[in-house]
């Protein structure tokens, strides 16, 4: 295996890690206005991801940085080509990132309700757009001989791209609902359980169609296996969610996301960004990669430090493993006038 292929796999792992981790905190953000019936419940939901969401997002930054270092041409063509789509994602991540911090700083129902919707939008938009982006990467985009993207934002919004977007949106929401069922107790837990079952009803058919279409047009024998396994684990996760085996359900959606990323990257290889204009203009693992020495240096850095990072990030999840409930949320004694909003929101 060439060093460039090793880095292609490493970047696939970073994206898989990002989708598994930030996937559930996107899901929690999307479900926030619907599952939390009052401010305390919404705070319980936010606090399930509170200590970890920022670390989860670093997986994206590392994937971006690793792409820059290992495949400069891929980084350049992809990010400049997907300019407006990436702008939307960045704007959403900016809003979402400050929401958590800002929301808690003022004790007013209106202030918090506004931030709740901002968290929803800031989570739903990237959850949708990452799927659109990856579907288009696998499908190929118009690239000229200089590997410059010649399409527009609308080029990306084709039916296959949008289907990919709906798949990630529904999968992340499902993943988030199951996460909430794992991490809460009290009234929220059964509600999260019901939400998970409903999300599964959308996610399973969408993902099945998307994987089938993907394998039909871009598949290889090896990825047919991962795609089939992804479908099986997703159905398994849905069944586990239905039966209330929360831990198994969460493991199921996590493995589904890993297998889905493996399928997409497997279909992509040896390209990194195929050209729909002319296959000869495609960016590949070989023509887009950095020189040998850079890859050697980065490999050592990754080999030494990745286990350290995984260690302390894993420890964080261990520290905050306890299920959260209303009584964990301490209302500041000075105000004590928490407005309980009318029950009966959608759940």
């Amino acid at each position: 295996m060439s060093l460039a292929t090793f880095w292609f796999i490493l970047i696939a792992i970073l994206w898989a890690g990002y989708f598994v981790l930030e996937g559930f905190d996107f899901g929690v953000g999307i479900l926030l206005p619907f599952l939390g019936r009052d401010d305390t419940e919404r705070r319980v939901m936010i606090n399930t991801i509170g200590p970890v969401w920022d670390g989860n997002e670093v997986w994206l930054l590392t994937a971006g940085g690793a792409t820059f270092a290992a495949f400069p041409l891929w980084y350049a063509s992809l990010f400049s080509g997907f300019y407006l789509a990436l702008l939307l994602i960045l704007a959403a991540l900016i809003v979402r990132g400050v929401c958590f911090e800002f929301r808690s700083k003022v004790d007013s129902p209106r202030w918090r309700a506004n931030w709740d919707w901002a968290i929803f939008a800031g989570s739903a938009l990237p959850a949708l757009l990452w799927g659109v982006a990856f579907a288009n990467i696998v499908r190929g985009v118009p690239l000229n001989a200089a590997h410059v993207y010649t399409g527009s934002l609308l080029t990306l919004l084709n039916w296959y791209g949008l289907l990919g977007g709906l798949v990630t949106l529904s999968l992340f929401t499902l993943h988030g609902a199951i996460f909430l069922a794992v991490r809460t107790s009290g009234e929220l837990r059964p509600r999260a359980h019901r939400a998970a079952v409903r999300c599964a009803l959308a996610a399973v058919p969408l993902a099945a169609v998307f994987l089938a279409v993907t394998q039909y047009s871009h598949g290889k024998p090896a990825t047919d296996v991962t795609a089939a396994l992804a479908a099986v684990t997703l159905i398994g996760a849905a069944y586990a969610a239905f039966r209330g085996w929360e831990g198994w359900a969460f493991a199921g959606t996590a493995v589904t996301l890993v297998l889905a990323v493996a399928t997409l990257f497997g279909d992509l290889w040896p390209n990194v960004l195929p050209s729909s204009t002319n296959p000869a203009y495609s960016l590949t693992v070989d023509n887009a990669s950095s020189a040998h020495y850079t890859l050697v240096v980065m490999s050592w850095v990754a080999i030494i430090f990745t286990p350290v990072v995984l260690g302390y990030q894993g420890w964080t999840y261990w520290v905050f493993r306890k299920r959260l409930t209303r009584s964990d949320i301490v209302v500041p004694p000075a105000t004590g006038t928490e407005t309980v909003e009318p029950v009966g929101g959608r759940s």
Partner: protein, 462 residues
């Protein structure tokens, strides 16, 4: 405007804005870590109140610093794809290292610090803020190593036949003299920004004689840090000036608008004349100072803009290699001026608050409050100087800014992103500022055990 101009404005605006929050994060994280350490050692609740109070200010700023940092990592590819292709082999490495070594460290341990009160053993919890603080400083090192490579490229070779550079020594990139000097300068200057916040916030309370037990010591602490960091910033800046004189002589000449090479060059504190300094009506000059700054010798030779220009034309081909002289001339002066003024005011403040004195004059508190702007402005001017002074290059001597811009991105796309970022950032600044002011006015509440609760109130929970 062209895509190039729009992209430059966007990079300038987003970077200067990002750097409003970064130095406070670097400086204040370490100050808060020290406050919490003092609490652990002395068990005096005053230190806990300080930790929580300034910890909250730190967190509001940290949040904005993080989200605006995401844009920084992506916009090289978005707006400067030709640059990214050219430098990726070299420049991408420190960026990826920053993410893996520093971003994970700071964001994971900030999460543990926010939510770990009462959950982690006190010593472990103390360690989390130190690790997060180390993460922010480490992050600054990697990104400054990347930036310093653009100022002074080392450890690379140009690949024949392609328009690309290749890394030959990561060690050379990470131990670049420019990077070490730049990091030291930024690190100590960050404490000036942090000190300005300590001073302004505590002066607001001391002026109202509220919570003196917390804010009077913090006021003194802030003044002392400001003075010490001010001196350190001047010394490190001086080291940088000499490196700049040998590595980027055009930038040094442009800092003074010195057109002809001269020995015993003077330094003008202020000039009235044509904006680019080519014609002078009146100026205040310190004799020999520029020579002294640039060469450590009052009679040393400093090269002039015209002389460097001719040398560059011979080396790099015909064209203009001058930066925008009024910008470099004034940003350099304002950086030095704002920074020195802040340190000078801190020295006066230390004198006025000596031996438990609490100044009566309202002017003391007004000046203390408004001097908040000084280190921020100095830092912004410093970045504008160092980046504008490198022009027309993005990578000195190797790649110009005009060659760096993305070929496929349209002007309308950049207009959209420039508008979105500017409005979004303005909104964030307004909200973050308002929240900080609100929090500052509320003060540092006394530590009261909650009746009936086993554990005290969690501090920073969302």
């Amino acid at each position: 405007m062209t895509v190039l101009e729009l992209s430059r404005w966007q990079f300038g605006i987003t970077t200067v804005y990002h750097f409003i929050f970064v130095p406070l994060t670097i400086g204040l994280s370490l100050v808060v870590a020290c406050m919490q350490t003092a609490w652990q050692i002395k068990k005096d609740p005053v230190y806990l109140r300080m930790t929580k109070f300034f910890g909250k200010i730190f967190l509001i700023n940290f949040a904005v610093g993080v989200v605006t940092g995401i844009v920084q990592e992506f916009q090289f590819g978005m707006n400067w794809s030709a640059y990214s292709v050219f430098v990726g082999n070299v420049f991408g490495a420190p960026l990826a290292m920053e993410a893996l070594l520093a971003f994970f460290l700071e964001s994971t341990f900030i999460g543990l610090w926010i939510f770990g009160w009462n959950k982690l053993p006190p010593r472990v919890h103390l360690a989390t803020i130190w690790l997060a603080a180390i993460g922010t400083s480490l992050s600054a090192y990697f990104i400054l190593a990347a930036n310093s490579w653009m100022q002074h490229p080392v450890g690379y070779r140009v690949v024949p036949g392609t328009h690309r550079v290749e890394l030959t020594s990561i060690w050379a990139v990470l131990t670049n003299s420019t990077a070490i000097a730049a990091w030291t300068h930024v690190f100590v200057a960050s404490f000036m920004v942090a000190a300005a916040v300590l001073i302004a916030v505590s002066a607001w309370h001391v002026g109202r004689r509220s919570q003196l037990e917390v804010f009077r010591p913090v006021l003194r602490l802030g003044l002392a840090i400001m003075l010490a960091a001010g001196i350190a910033t001047a010394v490190t800046g001086d080291v940088q000036a000499r490196l700049m004189d040998s590595q980027q002589p055009m930038k040094m000449a442009a800092a003074e608008a010195l057109y002809s090479t001269s020995d015993s060059a003077s330094f003008s504190l202020f000039t009235i004349g044509s904006l680019n300094g080519s014609k002078e009506v009146w100026s205040v000059r310190v004799p020999d100072l520029l020579s002294l700054i640039a060469t450590l010798d009052p009679h040393g030779t400093v090269q002039g803009i015209n002389n460097v220009e001719r040398a560059y034309q011979k080396k790099y081909g015909p064209g203009s290699y001058e930066p925008v002289i009024p910008v470099t001339y004034w940003s350099f002066r304002l950086m030095v001026g704002f920074g020195s003024l802040a340190a000078l005011l801190a020295a006066i403040g230390l004198w006025l608050t000596r031996r438990r004195r609490i100044p009566r004059s309202r002017w003391f508190y007004r000046v203390a409050l408004w001097s908040l702007a000084l280190p921020y402005l100095a830092a912004a001017m410093g970045w504008i100087f160092t980046e504008m002074g490198r022009q027309p290059w993005t990578v000195f001597g190797l790649l110009t800014t005009a060659q760096s811009v993305s070929p496929g991105v349209t002007a309308s796309s950049v207009i959209i992103s420039l508008t979105v970022f500017t409005l979004l950032y303005a909104g964030l600044a307004a909200i973050a500022g308002w929240l900080t002011v609100r929090h500052v006015k509320a003060g540092a509440p006394e530590e009261t055990e909650q009746p009936g609760a086993a554990a005290p109130l969690p501090v920073f929970q969302y």
